[in-house]
Amino acid sequence: MAGFDKRVASYEEAMEGIESGMTVIAGGFGLCGIPENLIAEIKRRGVNDLTVVSNNCGVDGFGLGILLEDRQISKILASYVGENALFEKQMLNDEIEVVLTPQGTLAEKMRAGGAGIPAFYTATGYGTPIGDGKEVREFNGRHYILEEAIIGDFAIVKGWKADRYGNVMYRHTAQNFNPMAATAGKITVVEVEEIVEPGELEPSQIHTPGIYVDRIIQGTFEKRIEKRTVRS
């Protein structure tokens, strides 16, 4: 690597430094916009006792679901974990700790983590089990709970196009959690469908500026569809 060139040559190099016990923030919503090859590399490495922060936990056999097969995840922060039989089994057997987190709060925890905001007040979850034990404050007659930001040892992100400086664009709703995840990793790794030369991406159209990105790699993707709905 030289200067601002963030490219790495292999997935092995992309995830270099990941260790058991680390916190990994992953972009994606359902199976849309998930860093599927970076997840596969985490599986290959066999690291375990991971804390994973992601809206969902993949499905059986795909996405983050493959990290359950060898029990690599010990704790997950997610808003919805319903599509995965192995996950349910591990949750019911107390083999995995699940911290259910409202979707908007999860996004904001990542955003705040990347933006240097240690905590924020939100009305979401006040008066519910999510607010239990959290600091409550009243602003303008309304109650808010204090939620803390999240920073990951690694953030793994799926982009569409990037230049080699690590400026990233996302495609359609595959954007979802990826831009926030990208800001919140001590080491942020982005895999994309295409790496282009600096100058080829319109600067004002870049979603994630390269300053947040440590490593980029070009991959090929299955991009599996979770619920195929079509009209005739």
Binding site: Q103, A107, H172, V230
Partner: protein, 221 residues
């Protein structure tokens, strides 16, 4: 007769106004999109990060990068915008969505809603529901009035863990359309052929029954 799911969607759709940004939850709320009245333009918000959700794609349009909050493949309508989940929940939490429609297990006379967790059963998560009920001024809750065993779901106090506190002001059940005001349900309309007595019997929470409770009509649709 109790309303069908389609009739419930039709009734909710009458609350839509031209120029509304609307978030529709999974289930009956999703069906509301099929009954948007003529001459009214609404923009559907999908909380994964899409404002201006269109129809399901054709086989040719199918795109794995284009899904809605239910993880179904969709299209974007002309004039749509796509953004991050943080941006999406900024518009939700910030009160910018004009109408939210979502389902529930229980609602009570204080406007509390329980919709995400039944203790002892598998808990899958709240997704965006807690943010939606905390952020919206204008929420319609769609649900059956009572369980299959006849137990009321419109309660004095929710028994299940809450999704949000004091946030629901309108409820459409299969039997009635009600508002929640000053610690009571107010019966506004009843389903065709459903008596006030039946609604009274199946409402456990405090219910105010005005002198005249009009019957919903569906023949025009």
């Amino acid at each position: 007769m109790a309303l069908t799911r389609e009739q419930m969607a039709q009734r909710v759709a009458r609350e839509l106004q031209d120029g509304f940004y609307v978030n529709l939850g999974i289930g009956i709320p999703t069906l509301v999109a099929n009954y948007i009245p003529d001459g009214i333009d609404v923009m559907l918000q999908s909380e994964n990060g899409l404002l201006g959700m269109g129809r399901y794609p054709t086989e040719d349009e199918l795109d794995s990068d284009m899904i809605n909050a239910g993880k179904e493949t969709v299209t974007a309508r002309p004039g749509a915008a796509i953004f991050s989940s943080a941006e999406s929940f900024a518009m939700i939490r910030g009160g910018h969505v004009d109408l939210t429609v979502l389902g529930a297990f229980e609602v009570d006379q204080q406007g509390n809603i329980a919709s995400w967790m039944i203790p002892g059963k598998l808990i899958k998560g709240m997704g965006g529901a807690m943010d939606l009920v905390a952020g919206a001024e204008n929420i319609i809750c769609t649900m059956t009035h009572a369980s299959k065993h006849g137990e009321s779901k419109l309660l004095e106090k929710c028994e299940l863990p809450l999704t949000g506190a004091g946030c629901i002001n309108r409820v459409l059940t299969d039997l009635a359309y009600l508002e929640i005001k000053d610690g009571a349900f107010v019966l506004k309309e009843r389903a065709p052929g459903v008596s006030v007595e039946e609604i009274v019997e199946k409402t456990a929470g405090k219910l105010i029954v005005p002198d005249h409770v009009p019957e919903m009509t569906f023949d025009a649709e």
